[in-house]
């Protein structure tokens, strides 16, 4: 990634670190106050990294070892209510175990930042990446971002605090990262010094909502039917405002670091003249980009669009970039049993976003890489072939295409 003039105003140095270590570096720089941890792979390496930094005196924060994910998320929820900047995270079934605390954190509009190291939901014992864990909060009022590489992991952590804590937003934010492929693989990452973070991230201030003896308020009393609809609508308004706040914050982060692609919500790759566009979230970007390059060499006009923010969903961007294409193929690393055309969650969102277009493209769903199975460049070729055939006429295809499933499974 090019380092421009702007970034030279802020001291940065390069390190070879994993995705979770990149997040840990950001937490140190963001002066996080309270963190809670409970072991589950692959998210947990971020906690090991911060624990080491605290032990070495590089970071002044309290790391509370919880006895369960449910407690972990309640610990940070209440610490956040006192005005502390907090961090937490989990993976797979651990994230689901915390779900009760996760949903109320959003309802209370507390800007908790969490890492989801994506992992398949047991059973059968599956430790590899699948996106169903983090997608479980898609309807819960969390901002939800899918990271694709190490530098983005670090930068987006700052972005997450800045947006979540903005008074116009005040919603929790989950950063999703593909287990192993990103959490545990090493990347060259520019780590900024404190001055950059101070310029970008104002101190967290809950103002009148701080839970403190000076401020005798009751938080989360019983509303029931009297006020719940209004509360829900307020959360929705905050989620809508988040779009503007994200764009603003993203622009400033780009100015300060001198890096990051121009669009805060989606990354586009060779789509200007593309007839067909593949869509995915997270590290599937890597094989898709390689395949796109190779297909382009063979004269195929194919491009790639990576969804970064899943909540708020980038429907404006999708409409802008996808109208009039010959075909759109959505690669889901998740599955939604019994859903529309038996597709994944992203597929359903994308189709819905494009529905209002007069010149809407056919949208075809693909299920790939479940449970951590690798998505290879050849898999992407296969996806593209199917996409072309389906888009050309087989539009009544009842279901998404599963890529790379062995043997008879029905």
């Amino acid at each position: 990634m090019a380092v421009t003039e702007a970034s030279k105003r802020f001291a940065q140095h390069e390190e070879l670190i994993t995705g979770t270590e990149a997040v840990a570096q950001a937490l140190r720089l963001a002066d996080v106050d309270v963190m809670a941890g409970y072991p589950i792979r692959p998210y947990d390496s971020v906690m090991s990294a911060v624990a080491k930094m605290i032990a070495n005196g590089q970071m002044d924060a309290d790391f509370i070892i919880a006895e369960s994910e449910h407690s972990q998320f309640e610990i940070v929820k209440h610490a956040s209510a006192t005005g502390a900047r907090v961090f937490v995270g989990s993976s797979g079934v651990g994230w689901m175990y915390a779900m009760e605390a996760i949903v109320v954190t959003a309802a209370l509009r507390l800007p908790v930042v969490a890492l989801v190291g994506n992992r398949a939901l047991d059973d059968p014992g599956a430790f590899g990446v699948e996106h169903n864990d983090a997608l479980a909060v898609r309807d819960a009022g969390w901002l939800l971002y899918w990271v694709a590489e190490g530098q983005e992991a670090l930068d987006t952590t700052f972005l997450a605090y800045r947006v979540a804590e903005d008074a116009r937003v005040s919603l929790p934010c989950a950063l999703s990262m593909d287990g192993a492929f990103l959490t545990h693989s090493q990347h060259l990452v520019m780590v900024p010094e404190k001055d950059l973070v101070e310029a970008f991230l104002p101190p967290y201030d809950l103002k009148k909502r701080r839970f403190h003896p000076d401020n005798p308020i009751s938080i989360a009393p019983q509303y029931n039917e009297d006020w719940v609809m209004e509360t829900r609508k307020q959360s929705d308004a905050a989620m809508r405002r988040a779009r503007g706040v994200i764009a603003e914050a993203y622009e400033e982060l780009r100015r300060l670091t001198g890096r990051g692609d121009p669009n805060p919500f989606v990354e586009t790759y060779r789509i200007e003249d593309a007839d067909y566009v593949l869509i995915g979230m997270g590290t599937v970007a890597m094989p898709i980009k390689v395949a796109v390059d190779q297909m382009r060499e063979r004269g195929k006009r194919v491009g790639f669009l990576r969804i970064k923010w899943f909540r708020p969903f980038p429907d404006e961007e999708l409409r802008h970039f996808l109208h009039g294409r010959k075909g759109v193929g959505v690669v889901d690393r998740d599955y939604s049993y019994g859903s529309t055309r038996h597709g994944g969650a992203v597929y359903n969102e994308v189709r819905s976003a494009l529905y209002d277009l007069a010149d809407r493209p056919p949208v075809i769903g693909f299920i790939a890489g479940l449970g951590g199975r690798e998505v290879s460049v050849e898999d992407v070729f296969r996806i593209q072939e199917q996409l072309e055939r389906s888009a050309a006429g087989d539009l009544l295809a009842e279901s998404a295409h599963w890529i790379g499933v062995r043997g008879p499974v029905e």
């Binding site: 809670a36 005196g57 002044d60 509370i64 006895e67 369960s68 407690s71 006192t82 003896p213 009751s218």
Partner: protein, 367 residues
């Protein structure tokens, strides 16, 4: 760094309450709740707010003390109150206490002791929230008090049996039927003693009853004063769940202690003290009343036969006569050669009034 700090800092200066005149007149839990008449859990809320004073925040788990207490626009809490999930009281208080501790250390908040008090029912606290309470008692660098209000059922969801419901009691999940008279066939778990046994570093764990207000308030103050994560288990009469006329709440709460069903004690920095009537019983200065007097005043035991009463009595007798530490340690004998601990007991805390020792105790009105 707090992570290595062994002893809690910044503990409040809360003097013991010696006579009724020492009780603060200010109310920090006032009108605006809609708990049942005679609800002793609500009375406990009033006591804890009085005892802890204005530099306090409270965190309440789901249950009657949430649902019946904090209707929007009508909260009775003058001090801050925040909801936590049914099983999360332990985690919630540690999170809040850590929030204050770190921000004070970093200069983001002025330094002062803040009382963080978590409130859990027996359903939330002794069942699903037990692991979080246990974990909280291990985080010794934080100051927080967890109060379990034990009305002996999941009262708010319409009285279902919890691990803290007495043997034989009728609840929504444990009815008395024509074929099975007793369906609550579990003996009440001894949550506070279990927490003492498992958490040697906790500096205060106690058992109390809302029928003895001064004792409760002193226990709350002692716990906050000694600091660290602490725990108080309070037995509360619940007219709806126990099925009796609300006017008898205090009488029933007191009978539970007099019959020896609920023992009052506290372990302060490793020292066990029995309190009030319990202490008199332990020292042989007072005879336990028959449990029948307590049981037969409540509709939830109305189906009991003589045999049931006898069984209940025998279990309570066992607790007093066989256990090495009555009401506390369910061990009848020590291994050969080990001396049995003496019955010499510590004096009551800080010279506080040994309430109940005088007989009937000071009268308290239900809220």
């Amino acid at each position: 760094m707090a992570i290595t700090e062994a002893r809690p800092a910044g503990r409040p200066d809360l003097a013991p309450i010696r006579t009724i005149r020492d009780v603060p007149v200010e109310e920090f839990y006032t009108s605006g709740h809609r708990t049942c008449q005679g609800c002793h859990s609500a009375l406990l809320m009033k006591y804890l707010a009085k005892a802890a004073g204005p530099r306090t925040v409270t965190i309440g788990a789901t249950g009657c003390m949430y649902v019946a207490n904090t209707s929007y626009y009508a909260t009775p809490w003058v001090i801050p109150w925040m909801h936590t999930q049914l099983g999360a009281t332990g985690a919630a208080v540690i999170g809040a206490a850590a929030g204050y501790a770190v921000q004070q250390r970093k200069g983001k908040l002025p330094e002062e002791p803040i009382n963080v008090i978590g409130i859990a029912g027996d359903g939330g606290g002794a069942d699903m929230g037990l692991s979080a309470i246990s974990a909280a008692l291990q985080h010794t660098q934080y100051n927080a008090l967890i109060i379990l209000y034990d009305n002996e059922s999941y009262a708010n969801t319409d009285i279902q049996a919890s691990g803290s419901t007495p043997w034989g009691a009728v609840t929504a999940f444990t009815p008395s039927g024509t074929v099975r008279r007793i369906t609550q066939d579990r003996w009440k778990k001894n949550t506070p003693a279990m927490l003492v046994a498992g958490h040697p570093e906790a500096r205060y764990i106690g058992s109390a009853s809302a029928a003895f207000g001064v004792d409760v308030m002193n226990k709350i103050r002692t716990a906050l004063r000694v600091g660290g994560p602490t725990y108080l288990h309070v037995h509360d009469a619940c007219p709806k769940g126990w099925d009796f006329d609300p006017r008898y709440s205090r009488e029933l709460g007191q009978l539970a202690v007099e019959c020896g069903v609920v023992p009052l004690w506290e372990v302060v920095e490793g020292e066990l003290r029995y309190n009030g009537i319990t202490r008199q019983i332990v020292e042989g200065r007072r005879k336990r009343k028959p449990v029948r007097e307590y049981l037969m005043r409540q509709g939830r035991f109305a189906h009991f036969t003589e045999d049931d009463i006898e069984y209940f009595q025998s279990k309570v007798d066992e607790m007093w006569e066989k256990w090495i530490l009555p009401g506390f340690l369910p061990v009848a004998a020590l291994p050969e050669g080990l001396p049995r601990p003496g019955r010499k007991l510590a004096a009551p805390a800080d010279g506080a009034v040994d309430e109940g020792a005088a007989g009937e105790g000071a009268g308290e009105a239900a809220p």
